[in-house]
């Protein structure tokens, strides 16, 4: 795959990718973009092995999720999430801002797989099959994680 072709694909996918990682990083935009950059470079290096058997998006998201997991393994336990860096759109009302804070704080409490399943299903509108491909788990497990995630979020978010 040429650099130009890769950039064309990335131009389309960069926003969903960054949004997915932003949700995984509990609203820490700088960290999410760092991981996104790492994922894109890994994908570019491995682009020769992309056979087109799955969608480019599924393939890229799988790499990004693995990068995120690697980051979690490397991150020291004392490295606390940066609350001040939570990405809230600047032009939003205080009500919307409060909802985003609530969302990210609730996501932070979720187990990683549940958080990833919720982010892919609700924020990226991916199918259960695609999510199973990205998270490398059976479709039944994805459904279970989604159901558990919803139940947990219901406890954490006051509607």
């Amino acid at each position: 795959m040429t650099q130009e072709r890769f950039i064309d694909l990335v131009r389309v996918e960069q926003e969903p990718l960054r949004r997915f990682l932003l949700a995984l990083c509990n609203g820490n935009a700088a960290l999410a973009d760092d991981i996104a950059q790492d994922a894109l470079i890994r994908a570019y290096v491995a682009s020769g092995s992309f056979m087109g058997l799955s969608k480019f998006r599924t393939w890229l998201f799988r790499i990004a999720y693995n990068c995120y997991i690697d980051h979690l393994r490397k991150a020291r336990p004392e490295e606390a999430p940066v609350e001040a860096a939570i990405a809230v759109p600047a032009d939003d009302t205080s009500d919307a801002s409060f909802r985003y804070q609530q969302l990210y704080q609730a996501l932070e409490k979720l187990p990683e797989k549940e958080k990833a399943a919720i982010a892919l299903f609700y924020f990226e509108d991916l199918s259960i099959k695609e999510i199973a491909g990205i998270l490398n788990m059976p479709q039944g497990t994805v459904k279970y994680k989604l159901s558990m995630g919803r139940a947990h979020l219901k406890q954490y978010i006051q509607l």
Partner: protein
């Protein structure tokens, strides 16, 4: 659960449009391409060196074999000649052989003594 579904769908995280993001990606990709090119260059250089070595070895081997067949040598007499030359050399220079042997012995004894003292200090 409907409320949670609606809440999540209505509050998707918002990503700011950032042109610097793609520029940074391009810059990193260029770096990766540079490394890839360098690795390829070194790999092809190594391959050329290997082939050159193989060809040189083959040519030299063929030449030596051809010479051996073209000009056969009595190896017994050559071997005897070499041995006699060595003996003559040692006969001539045997009094000077003592010096390098003594120098090596002194150096070795100094090194071993100092090494033993350092090891004892540790």
């Amino acid at each position: 659960m409907k409320e949670i579904d609606d809440f999540l769908r209505e509050n998707k995280p918002v990503v700011k449009d950032d042109p610097a993001f793609l520029m940074e990606t391009r810059r990193r990709m260029k770096d990766v391409d540079g490394i890839k090119e360098e690795v390829d260059r070194q790999r092809s250089r190594g391959r050329v060196t290997l082939i050159a070595t193989l060809v040189t070895g083959l040519v030299l081997g063929v030449l030596v074999t051809a010479l051996a067949f073209l000009y056969p040598v009595d190896t017994q007499s050559v071997g005897d000649g070499l041995w006699q030359a060595l003996r003559a050399f040692l006969d001539t220079w045997k009094q000077y052989l003592v010096y390098p042997v003594a120098a090596i012995a002194v150096t070795l004894s100094l090194v071993l003594t100092l090494g033993g003292k350092k090891a004892a200090q540790l």
